[in-house]
Symmetry: C2
Subunit: 96 residues, 2 copies
């Protein structure tokens, strides 16, 4: 049995297929992490919700959503102008 | 002064510009609703977060996120096969 890891692990959602990120979450949870934080910005937010829902419902893991936060980040575009982008953080936690 | 409306008002996010939905939320909040529920499915989820963040941060309203829920709905495709789609519900509430 693997030791429990207390630090929170994060998975950043980009443009790869959803299953890549699902696998990353499962690897962390099976590797002893109690929580996984799924983070995304902009259009990747929908994919972050897909990842959380697949991890939560389709696998033989007792995992549930602990917390969901939304926020706004200010980035700088290539021409130097400020761009606001929405972010999401979904924390999944083992329930047993 | 408008009377307080206790029932929850919902704004369903589709493919229109973000500002259409922001305006719908502001109209409900200014019209006396204490809460607005922003609902979206699939790729519209990112837009729902944008709408919530804009209502929360850019206007002169004391509004904050009360709750965020994610879920999965099973729909039927045109060929009759089942399709799973993620959903989000973001509840905004007046803070004073």
């Amino acid at each position: 049995m693997s030791e429990k890891k207390t630090e929170e692990a994060a998975v950043y959602i980009g443009n790869k297929p959803v299953m890549n990120y699902v696998l990353a979450c499962l690897t962390l949870l099976h590797g002893g992490h109690e929580k996984v934080s799924i983070k995304a910005r902009g259009k990747a937010i929908s994919r972050a919700v897909d990842v959380a829902e697949i991890v939560r419902k389709r696998f033989d893991l007792a995992v549930d959503v602990e917390n969901i936060k939304i926020d706004t980040e200010e980035l700088t575009a290539s021409d130097g102008s400020p761009v606001k982008v929405s972010t999401i953080e979904i924390v999944l936690k083992k329930t047993k």
